[in-house]
Amino acid sequence: MEQVYLDHASATPVRKAVLEAMLPYFGERFANPSTVYDMGSKVKQAMEEQREKVAGLIGAKGKEIIFTSSGAEANNLAIKGVALAHRKKGNHIIISSIEHHSVLNAARFFERMDYEVTFLPVDAFGMVNPEQLREAIRKETVLVSVMHANNEIGTIEPIPEISAVCKEKGVLLHTDAVATVGNIAVNVDDLGVDLLTLSGVSFGAPKGTGALYFRGGLRLMPLIQGGIQESGRRGGTENIPGIIGLGKAAELAVEELPANMKHARELRDRIISGIRKRVEQVKLTGHPENRLPGHASFCVAAIEGEALIFMLSREGIYANTGSACASKALKTSPVLVAIGTEAALAQGSIVFTLAPNNNADEISYLLEKFPPVVERLRAMSPIWKEQTAA
């Protein structure tokens, strides 16, 4: 088998239909959407149609969508935009301790100013406890941010329960839904969130595309000062080809979601049961049931995740040790630390993330190649030798 790509949390391939939809906007439909002549207004109209499609994917209204350059920008806009616009209400932000770096570091940015940040702990499965959130909220709290699902361990957070607490306390709630939008059904009203981040790279749109949902009427300080673009909320000429791609990918996701979820769940369950059956001392990370349908993550005892990734890539299998942003840092994953994983075991982290284009043969190939790769690495591992001798 030439190539088995199982790292779709890092990037998904741009779908053919998405690319085809984008191409005219690199060519004859190049005009600036803010111009008043018809060449520009036609582009503007196409952009607004995509806004409706993206909104439709999450049960929102078009006017509640701001297009951004990425999920990271949308997360920054949510945290900084709310904290700055609502400064008179208070200076306290609450985030979970397993957030993506773009939430974590945006919140830490405010720690250098006169804000306070509370990092909510999670349980062994990575779940936030809504009662602990209730205790953490103060009268100065302006925003709570808890991700919809974690990209490293796949756990889906109890956002509706968290929302109930926030509503009761009168605090705004943001969720980073980069791992979920396009992969599972997401509805902003069902979740009860005020802000939601999504990224096109998670579901077949090109890199450089993302959006922030903000509930109608919410005040949000812009990050990029400019003019009338995005209704005066984000300056800069819009990335029209990217937005067209994001809209097309959203449209396809709406049509295909139920079948894709079922397919991903079947493959995921084969990976989880297959690896547990074939390799000893492997721990599934994240929640066993309440997890993303296309996400299987493990800690493999006595080996380094990076070595495992490298060896698998030599067999044509591409996976990750954690988040794409953190995997090169050679630092124990803060997410695995937060769920109480022993430091040595956390070194052996491996994450498989699936997409609709994966198939059963690819999983069979993974299950055939994975055990001997682990065996070879363990044969070189002093820790494994100590453990087996004991």
Binding site: K88, R219, L220, M221, P222, G226, I228, S231
Partner: protein, 82 residues
């Protein structure tokens, strides 16, 4: 500068944190949804709007009623004339 207090409004347009020149684009769209004689309240934190909106009203044939300063923004009142 014309100031008002406790001005009645039939609708509100919140432009706080929105960038210039939105304060010159959105009032027209909002007024289009109101009836003649109704009053629009525009909330903004942009100082430039204090001069721009009265001038815009004059140019567009709408009546500028006045300004009220709130804790975190300005409130500007426009009466729809046409």
């Amino acid at each position: 500068m014309k100031f008002v207090a406790n001005q009645h409004a039939d609708d509100t347009l919140d432009l706080v944190c929105r960038m210039c020149p939105l304060h010159l684009l959105e009032p027209g769209e909002k007024l289009a949804c109101l009836k003649k004689g109704q009053v629009l309240e525009v909330l903004t934190d942009y100082d430039g709007a204090l001069e721009d909106i009265p001038a815009w009203c004059e140019k567009c044939g709408q009546e500028f009623l006045g300004i009220e300063e709130d804790e975190d923004c300005y409130k500007l009142y426009i009466k729809k004339k046409k």
